[in-house]
Symmetry: D2
Subunit: 148 residues, 4 copies
């Protein structure tokens, strides 16, 4: 049962994923499993940069946020996830019609959770790995979230 997420929790995380800046950027949750989260964004003109490639900032946002939700799948429901830091390598230019991101938890310490995110450029029907991120997060009880 350790690998079990209730359908209610899956539905909650799927919906919770897509708010504020993430909604504004058009990112959507695709698949949720214990320790894993997948998301997608259909690329619009407003996602590109000066040379017409998909902007690194969008890719980084996706890598960070999806990693965050992969961490959400393994903590008690009253915990929140804070990103301490992340690092991302841009491996190839991205210019397709959509991006997919798959994040998985690679380590769970007492408080620190580390996830990896792979971002794929969807070109016609093939997927190309275009970025890889590693995200260090902290699980904090919801009541302890504060402005300092």
């Amino acid at each position: 049962m350790d690998n079990y997420l209730t359908q209610k929790r899956i539905d909650f995380l799927t919906e919770d994923y897509c708010q504020g800046f993430i909604k504004y950027c058009g990112l959507k949750a695709l698949r949720v499993k214990k320790g894993f989260f997948e998301s997608q964004v259909v690329i619009e003109k407003s996602h590109r940069q000066q040379d017409n490639f998909i902007h690194a900032g969008l890719i980084a946002t996706m890598a960070d946020h999806t990693a965050g939700y992969s961490a959400f799948t393994i903590v008690p429901e009253d915990y929140r996830i804070l990103t301490i830091e992340f690092k991302i390598n841009f491996l190839k230019p991205a210019y397709g019609n959509a991006l997919k991101c798959r994040s998985k938890v690679i380590n769970k310490g007492k408080q620190i959770i580390v996830s990896e995110s792979k971002v794929y450029d969807v070109r016609d029907k093939s997927e190309k790995l275009v970025a890889k991120g590693i995200v260090t997060m902290m699980a904090v009880h919801g009541e302890k979230i504060c402005k300092e």
Copy 2:
């Protein structure tokens, strides 16, 4: 003359900064000097995340893009800047009315340029350092930019 940017170049970079995803996110160039770039974004509801803080993805986008333009200030006009990778630490939660980012080039190799970005949360009239990024970039001749 080594530290001189023409007003024409400053105007070009100021305008060029704000396109596509960056325009969509509301980021604007504030100040341009050789090896330095400053930007700002006035925070809207669409920039926040599920706990009402400013989204880490917006902060990272700003750190990356502003670092990129700090690098643009030191290369010949027919060169473009590609981000190889970046790393960003989120030092404090950001919740103010605007963000400012100041990026400066800390090293220029034959091809590799490294810049640092500091992102400040503007609360009333004070500024609080909320994130620090280090960005590794490559200067590439405009004609050599390609999809692989």
Copy 3:
């Protein structure tokens, strides 16, 4: 033939791996394949830190150097590898009798090579993943290596 390394090249890289600081630290090459390098160090008292764990610096040295040699396996023989930057997450404390590092190339661009290193703590006969690094390198022709 693309995945072929001559025995002569394997022997060269195996020996070349272990010089200077790496020899001083006791690291040794274990296995070499195209795009892959594995190394080992038997832990001595001089590898530990103030709390008796294996020092993060040794782990980082191993992650960097082994990644470098994974990159060496995919470039022409007259090229050298320079580390541009790396990032490493320490996932669990390491305290065993040996460390193993497995590095593989995850992306090869025209000049930039990115490898990942996993460092394992060898405790009796089990291996525990204790650190994960991502290393950004540049392939440079041997004649172009210089002090600036």
Copy 4:
């Protein structure tokens, strides 16, 4: 009095800095202040790599360990510092007669401390910045240090 370190504490940290792997590598503490730590290593042949430059692993070890002790200067005496992760950019080749590292705390959260390390190559009497690292650490009560 907030910026005050007792001479006893300074002496303790100066001595404590240099143990195990760090002693084996020849690193020594030079200067200790609240939120700041400086170290040095005189370069031997055993610190170099295959192309005769100072090995990146030694530079990274110095950046990590010195950052760790900069964090030690700001926590209660019964706390220990664990490195969660670090990232380091190698800006220029290092080939001089000594290295110096200056680390300073750039953020102190409730548990997470972030320091920056600058490593300088000492050539005759000039110092050249050759690497910059950012180190994320956690302050943990000494009694809570454990193997998992």
